[in-house]
């Protein structure tokens, strides 16, 4: 493996080729990547390009996400200043790529790859756009160097190999930032502007993690459980030596075990829900719905117990503070007893938020799911939305899990291919049966966890809600005094959701607070209005796209 060296604020750092900048910096013990306008430090949080917190300056160019940028030999990396100097220079002309496939698949995870394989095998011309350097998505998280850690990664590698063999074109490192009616997509891949006008599009953008919003959740070293998993599975980097994991759901269990096997000291695994054995009927129901998955869960728990890991149920994080290089995480038991432990890294996951920005922008019908606290995209049984030519599969529609996403992908891929004159989409009985089974298991599974959105009223005033604009729940409560009729009004009066992450973390909280204050039921229009760009996009990239569209004549 090639060794790479670079500097961070003058410190020499050694990394492995293929590592992300965030992984290399974490491995070298650096946590604070940028300084905010209010002089707070921030580091990597989501690990998947969503939160926009891990910005660093590379060779004088500010605003690069460390989690999405690979290390390069000799690069000069600096902590990002709150107000960096302008660094732009006019690029005379950029390369562009024009795509007009039968089927455009957005997102190369479990659902997207399955859709691509099915559509391509039916004879359709298929292009997959994926954000990461290596496709596979958040569930199958592929390693940067091609090594295989376990069965889950192996399954992903096989799916990816099948997708490549199917004839589908997979474009990696693509940031899609614009979606317009009728099915016009604008994206950027390195220096190349991509303009896509597909006949059909399958949105398979997955989900991002819901945090545990407590005072201190924005401190460097606090990250989502998935971010820690990416560090380990993709880059062979542990987020720290002493690690606590908290929130609710099976991902926490899985990642705690993976990190422990990787050599980390898991000092606490706090699950908000009571132990499944306290709810024997619901547990039996889950066992009946999915014996093998349930067995996998039991095996994971036993393995964690064998390692002597401090696993607590009905235990929740109440706050984090920094003390020197250590994070002090305070937990509270069901009995109300609090204890504080020192850790290097704190991982959190309390459910998932669907990445439904493209669907909402294009006008797909959304319905609120109060149990998950998210919008669900309504599709028919071919996975087609109410927007002509637009399909949606997997967690971007509302949480369903990777196995269900695969089956939905197969169904959508077959129907999108048929819609463009390829194949007949008849033999989907097995996929539909499997999908029904996975959905049954998922609903039994989540009934055992506690991922319903927290009541904002219980959050202390000093809890940051909007990471980007540095606003607390107290600030939002102040904004409610102006009696906003809509989350958008609260946004304009407090600036909540106006930052780089575009309201991905604070938006659901603001929507619920306003709905509660106004007594209106939550629906699609309760959330911040969807806006382009879907992700922040450099002015130079917009210029490149303009030139590309102009060139179309």
């Amino acid at each position: 493996m090639t060794e790479i060296t670079f500097t961070f604020d003058g410190h020499k750092i050694t990394a492995r080729e293929g590592q992300s900048l965030a992984a290399a910096l974490t491995e070298a013990g650096h946590r604070a990547f940028r300084e905010t306008a209010k002089s707070a430090d921030r580091g990597m949080f989501c690990g998947m390009g969503v939160c926009q917190e891990c910005l660093v300056s590379v060779d004088g160019m500010p605003n690069l996400r460390a989690c999405m940028s690979p290390v390069r030999n000799g690069m000069v990396v600096a902590k990002q200043a709150p107000f960096p100097e302008f660094s732009g220079a006019h690029v005379e002309s950029s390369a562009s790529k024009h795509l007009s496939p039968d089927v455009l698949v957005i997102g190369g995870g479990a659902g997207g790859l399955s859709a691509a394989i099915t559509a391509a095998r039916a004879g359709a011309d298929v292009v997959v756009l994926d954000e990461r350097k290596v496709a596979g998505g958040q569930y199958y998280k592929q390693s940067a160097d091609g090594s295989i850690l376990d069965a889950q990664q192996q399954e992903g590698a096989e799916l990816l190999a099948a997708a490549r063999a199917s004839g589908a074109e997979i474009l990696s490192g693509v940031e899609l930032w614009g979606a317009f009616d009728p099915l016009l997509f604008l994206a950027q891949q390195g220096d190349t502007a991509i303009v896509a006008r597909p006949k059909t599009a399958i949105v398979a953008t997955g989900a991002y993690e819901r945090p545990v919003m407590v005072p201190g959740w924005t401190l460097p070293g606090v990250m989502t459980t998935g971010a820690a998993q990416t560090l380990w599975r993709s880059y062979g980097t542990l987020p720290g030596k002493r690690i606590a994991v908290c929130g609710s759901g099976p991902l926490n269990l899985q990642v705690a075990l993976e990190l422990a096997r990787g050599g980390a000291d898991i000092v606490r695994l706090a699950e908000r829900a009571p132990h499944p054995l306290k709810r024997p009927f619901a547990s039996l129901k889950m066992g009946a719905a999915g014996a093998s998955q349930t067995a996998k869960g039991v095996t994971m728990e036993l393995a964690l117990r064998r390692r002597g890991i401090d696993m607590r149920n009905a235990c929740e994080l109440v706050g984090v503070t920094q003390s020197g290089s250590e994070l002090l995480a305070t937990f509270r038991s069901a009995a109300g007893v609090e204890d504080t432990i020192g850790v290097d890294a704190l991982c959190m996951n309390s459910g998932f938020e669907p990445q439904n920005e493209i669907l909402r922008l294009l006008g797909a019908e959304m319905r609120y799911d109060p149990e998950m606290g998210t919008l669900r995209c309504h599709t028919d049984d071919t996975m087609h939305t109410n927007v002509s030519g637009l399909y949606a599969v997997g967690d971007c529609k509302g949480l369903g899990g990777a196995p269900a996403a695969r089956q939905e992908g197969i169904i959508a891929g077959a129907h999108a291919a048929t819609a463009t004159g390829h194949g007949d989409a008849y033999d989907l009985f097995a996929a539909r049966r499997a999908l029904a089974r996975h959905r049954r298991f998922q609903s039994c599974l989540w009934a055992l966890y506690d991922i319903a959105p927290r009541n904002a009223a219980t959050m202390p005033d000093d809890t940051l809600v909007c990471r980007c604009e540095e606003l607390t729940i107290g600030d939002l409560r102040g904004g409610l005094e102006g009696r906003p009729g809509h989350a958008g009004t609260l946004k304009r009066s407090t600036r909540v959701g106006m930052g780089r992450c575009q309201g991905r973390y604070c938006g659901p909280v603001a929507a619920r607070m306003v709905a509660e204050a106004t007594g209106k039921p939550i629906e699609d229009l309760s959330f911040f209005a969807p806006r382009v760009p879907i992700k922040p996009v450099a002015i130079s990239c917009i210029l490149a796209a303009e030139e590309a569209l102009d060139g179309e004549g």
Binding site: A37, M61, P62, N63, P82, F83, P84, E85, F86, S87, G88, A89, H90, V91, G178, F180, L184, L186, G482, G485, H486, G488, T489, R492, S493, R495, M498, G499, R500, Q502, L525, A529, R531, V532, P533, P536, V537, A538, I539, S540, I542, L543, A545, E546, E547, L549
Partner: protein, 375 residues
């Protein structure tokens, strides 16, 4: 709802200032706002004084009206300076506005325009590239000169809207959410029809922007208020570098940097109207064209990322404001800034309030009277 002395229709900057002025004078005031698709809520905070080339190009027949209104624009900018002090700071900065030229023709156009504006009392000057380099070193190589109008500036509209709303509440203005569907004269005053029932008042001020024309129908006028859905773009923060409000002699653009370090790019690129309940939709051609133009004029900003776009409504009429009582209904007073609504809004609102109170407006209000639209 109790009968009010005055009902103000429209809770943007114009209606709010009208309401504050009336309440301060002792009137009981109810303000009704539909809470959708508002102009003030989507405004980007430019203080326009010099004649906008976009407007001159789009509506050449309205240029004489705009030119005659220049002293009014200047006074309106001064009014914002006063409000900045009264409200405790709306991040108002008045470093002037630059209108850029890329060709000798454009520069000649600006010189001619500057002469006309100077004659109306504006503080303007045409600068060559050397002079520009002193005050705007971030400009691209194509710029050969610019007109500087010292009266122009910028402010933070989100902050201003919030403070004005608080000020209205403190003054005792009762604010309700709802939409007025029509107005009718009664024996004792005016009745406004809403879905929630009628509202009664002695007088009504119509500060409903593009919706104002419809409300005035049937009272002896036909005011052609026209909605213009426009879109804007905002970047992530950068070091404070751009001091001026920046426009172009021939092309549609406004560009300025807020106190937050963020750069706002706009200038009247069209959005798509989607009815009353949803904001207008940003068009790809507008987004690309608008931002690409900014990148060409100021390449230094091209490394910054655009983090959000939004769309709102501008209202145009005939190049001049409409302020005054309707010929067929003295109790109904119009308050429509016309173009540059956010700049002119406070002045227009206060003048309409003065007329409702039977006081002097301080300007030759005949020029702004709705009588010019008599049918």
């Amino acid at each position: 709802m109790a009968r009010a002395d005055v009902l103000v229709i429209g809770g943007g900057v114009t209606g709010t200032l009208a309401a504050i002025t009336l309440a301060d004078a002792g009137a009981s005031v109810t303000l009704i706002d539909a809470g959708v698709n508002a102009g003030s809520d989507a405004n980007a905070g430019s203080l326009h004084v010099q004649m906008q080339s976009r407007f001159m190009r789009l509506y050449p027949d309205q240029v004489p009206n705009v030119e005659a209104s220049l002293p009014f624009y200047r006074a309106a900018a001064e009014e914002w300076v006063r409000l900045d002090a009264v409200l405790g700071g709306v991040e108002l900065v008045r470093n002037g506005g630059l209108m850029l030229a890329e060709t000798p023709d454009q520069l000649a156009f600006l010189e001619h325009k500057a002469d006309r504006e100077a004659a109306q009392g504006l503080s303007v000057e045409v600068l060559d590239r050397t002079a520009l380099d002193q005050i705007a070193p971030w400009l691209g190589p194509n710029i050969i000169g610019a007109e500087l109008c010292r009266d122009e500036g910028k402010l933070n509209p989100l902050l201003a809207n919030r403070l004005l709303r608080g000020r209205a509440e403190a003054a005792g203005v009762a604010r309700i959410t709802g939409k007025v569907d029509g107005l009718a004269l009664t024996a004792r005053g005016v009745e406004a029809t809403t879905a929630e029932g009628p509202l009664q008042a002695d007088q009504v001020i119509v500060a409903a922007a593009w919706g104002a024309g419809r409300l005035a129908d049937g009272f002896g006028v036909s005011i052609p208020t026209r909605a213009e859905p426009l879109h804007m773009n905002i970047t992530e923060p950068g070091a404070p570098s751009i001091n001026h409000l920046v426009q172009h002699a021939e092309r549609s653009i406004t560009l300025k940097q807020f106190g937050s370090g963020q750069i706002v790019i706009g200038g009247g690129w069209p959005a798509t109207y989607r009815g009353q309940t949803q904001p207008p939709l940003v068009r790809p051609a507008s987004l690309l064209g608008n931002v690409a133009l900014a990148a060409k004029l100021a390449p230094a900003i091209s490394g910054l990322k655009v983090i959000r776009t939004w769309a709102g409504m501008n209202t145009t009429i005939d190049g001049a404001s409409v302020i005054g009582a309707l010929p067929g209904a003295e109790r109904i007073v119009m308050a429509i800034p016309g173009d540059a609504g956010y700049t002119l809004g406070p002045m227009v609102g206060q003048m309409a309030a003065s007329i409702a109170l039977g006081a002097q407006t301080g300007f030759d209000s005949e020029r702004f009277s709705p009588v010019r639209f008599a049918v």
